[in-house]
Symmetry: C2
Subunit: 474 residues, 2 copies
């Protein structure tokens, strides 16, 4: 019966493949003979033959009254050729390689990840958030399994609206729409108000996530001159908006990533006035707004927005829980368009993490946590400045962030920070080369280092080592 | 001092606004005087004046040693004009109104929601999922606050790979990328492989979420003739693919929503062969695949895909937990492009719900739950057929789904189901008018009713009432 023979070999082969690629791991139980029969529409004996085949190869073993399991013995019996040992990590050549690898690098142990744009887990209120999660599971209908209204979790929206009082936003929960993090919020806004081929304006340097997103949506990107202290150059902005048809501007008005710059209130007002006059919506990324080093929470462009021109986006990814994916948008008069994009692309948010953050914000915990976090970040920043001053070569320049998480370091012109990146990675250190923050030929001698790590001996030594690597390149 | 006077009035006004729009609710604590000083850069006396102002209006009240609270008394003292009472719900005229309202309707109590495309919460294994959530909080580093690798949660990917053996998919965890639900998976795929102006082909009728998404991405949509039994018309597909430049096809190969049709294995093989020959990627939406009424799990187009042309998308939204937003993609040779879109648009998934589903699938619970759910859905389906047979007018035709959640009902030609929808909503019943499932002039006398509800007296009565409403329209 050649047909039957083929069938059992086919089943055996596909299981063997799953064992070889570790989808089925040593000790895993295999599907029952009956299950095999049902799923593949074969007889008991065909299924049994398939398993005999695998057993004969020592790949699986039967256990009495329990079924078949992936065996360990095949690994011992069949001597395998030694594994090859090429460089573990691809040598990266381009900015997009670095960005794509950055997640996986960040997950690796023993790395000092100066490239991570979020606070280290030790700085997050994990135990209290865990409690809020349990509370959310208990209080949500169906334990958070069922869809909530399209606009998003009500508790969260109410809390964000209340919080907006701190930056003179005066939002109501009706103004707010939730999203899966701030980047997803910006993505919704861009998809709602731009179309392929449109031109948008951003700060320069600009967070690479925004550049990549805008590029992938087919937008043309104008990079505006930006001061490391006061943000986008207002005169230049004015000229640009007069001369060009802009679909939108995206500004990180408070503690721009990577500069750490802060737009003064007067600039924010002026920006809103310009947008209104020329009918250009402004996407404001306020993700760092609560991480101020000064004595008060800065306002936002949204604080001065009477005509509804500002699409204010933020999240708790820099302050509470990056992987909860909790973001929010107050989209002004574009609210309905943005809501439609949310409907088309994702239907609903993850209720449970959104409810948990809502509960967390209801208490005074958030303010207490922020006070601590801001203090830690500011202390870290001072330590970085000290060590960079001591260890980096003469001619190094650094930004003076007034909040946020990142420090911009300009090295002597000769240094190419993409080359330096490869050297640093081989020493288990990462940072973000300056070229990631532009689409033009600039910043090749710059880097962003974030100070969201715990400050300890290892961090300090890594930063010193980075300084030595820079010196060695010279 | 007119400047100071203005300032305290401004602060008072913005708080009053928050009280009036219920952002600050009766009993809520107001920010402390000190906080007001800090945030608004005003003196203690200015802040205190602002609060006096509000107190004078009976909007807030001080409590000793505790601060100011939103008062209840102003609601009593100031008699308010009676509220107007227009129709609670907007009378909907267009398909997109219905879609946008559907979430909010679904959340309302006492409605019988035949329009809901997910199983009722009573059919979900909520208690066991809650356990998996607690386990996820405990086992994830940082309680699930920190980013996981871009590709997605490893436990989940491993389980989906193992599960793929059931439909002869033989995926490895490396083939799989996670997403925030199936619609988001399809969105990533479309953004990765199409561009504005491209033409794509879909089944007709087609799930409205896919139509809306594709439209919003600027794609032209070709609707293909589709059998309620065997899915897309293969001869027609062949001619279409020969004559047109298609960027992709999207097929719900197993239990198409809304038809419930099932592509036979031969059609699946043929479809894959065609896509390969004409180099057209196929997006396969397999979200209903595990909800079969027959004796075995149907295969997918992906099961026959040797060249990597199929982008297989699915989720647990129809089987476990819609609002967990857990979806996954095996994108074949388009894997890298799709991963980039995930990076650009969302960075990372919500680790905690993805880990919870991974844990749930590790046990035998999923298979046990599915067996029960399939039985319930099949029984429901039979009940629907009986009641529709008894209560709907002669000439009514219904589909014979072989799995999934939805029943397609074709009413006598005279009936306009959008008009019927408005009548039904006034009786607290919703369904999905047929016109939602096409961009053309068709299906105006059709409706989708889903049988994911608990079958009980209320459901039965609502379905009977729906029949009477149809008869009344004739």
């Amino acid at each position: 019966m050649p047909g039957r023979e083929l069938l059992y070999i086919k089943i055996a082969n596909s299981l063997e493949q799953q064992i070889n690629n570790d989808t089925l791991k040593v000790g895993d139980k295999l599907p029952s003979i009956r299950m095999i029969c049902r799923q593949h529409g074969v007889s008991m004996s065909t299924a049994q033959f398939a398993y005999y085949q695998l057993e004969a190869k020592s790949l699986i073993e039967p256990r009495p009254q329990s079924g078949y399991y992936v065996s360990n013995s095949f690994r011992k019996k069949l001597a395998m050729p030694g594994a090859s040992k090429p460089e573990r990590r691809p040598v990266v050549k381009t900015v997009s390689d670095i960005i794509e690898n950055s997640f996986d690098t960040a997950a690796e142990k023993n790395f000092t990840v100066f490239s991570r744009g979020v606070p280290a887990v030790q700085l997050l209120p994990v135990a209290k958030l865990n409690k809020s999660m349990l509370q959310a599971v208990r209080s949500l209908p169906g334990g958070g399994t069922i869809y909530e209204p399209l606009q998003g979790n009500e508790k969260l929206r109410t809390q964000i609206a209340k919080w907006s009082f701190n930056w003179k936003g005066n939002l109501s929960e009706k103004d707010i729409l939730t999203s899966a993090g701030c980047l997803s919020a910006i993505a919704y806004c861009l998809m709602a108000i731009t179309k392929r081929g449109d031109t948008i304006a951003v700060e320069s340097p600009c967070f690479y996530g925004i550049l990549q997103l805008a590029q992938s949506l087919g937008l043309k990107i104008m990079e505006l001159p930006t001061s490391p202290q006061t943000g986008v150059d207002m005169d230049y902005l004015k000229k640009t908006i007069q001369k060009n048809k802009l679909a939108t501007c995206i500004f990180v008005s408070n503690f721009n990533n990577p500069f750490g710059s802060l737009m003064p209130d007067e600039h924010k007002k002026e920006a809103v006035r310009l947008m209104e006059k020329y009918n250009v919506p402004l996407i404001e990324d306020d993700i760092f707004g609560d991480l101020y080093f000064g004595d008060k929470r800065p306002t936002c462009c949204k604080s001065y927005d009477e005509a509804g021109m500002v699409l204010w986006c933020s999240s708790v990814s820099k302050t509470l829980a990056p992987a909860y994916r909790v973001g929010f948008i107050a989209a002004g008069k574009y609210r309905h368009e943005v809501m439609k994009i949310k409907l088309f692309h994702s239907l609903s948010s993850t209720s449970i993490t959104h409810e948990a953050v809502g509960s967390f914000l209801e208490t005074a915990r958030y303010e207490a946590h922020l006070r601590k976090l801001r203090k830690t970040l500011y202390t870290n920043y001072l330590q970085y400045v000290r060590v960079i001053g001591e260890s980096f070569p003469d001619g190094t320049r650094i930004s003076r962030p007034q909040g946020g998480l990142s420090l911009w370091v300009e090295l002597p012109k000769k240094i190419d920070t993409i080359e330096l990146y490869n050297t640093a990675v081989s020493k288990k250190i990462t940072f973000s080369p300056g070229h990631m923050f532009t689409l033009q030929k600039q910043f090749s001698n710059c880097m962003r280092v974030t100070y969201g790590l715990e400050w300890n001996e290892k961090t300090e030594n890594s930063l010193k080592l980075l300084g030595r690597l820079v010196k060695a390149e010279l």
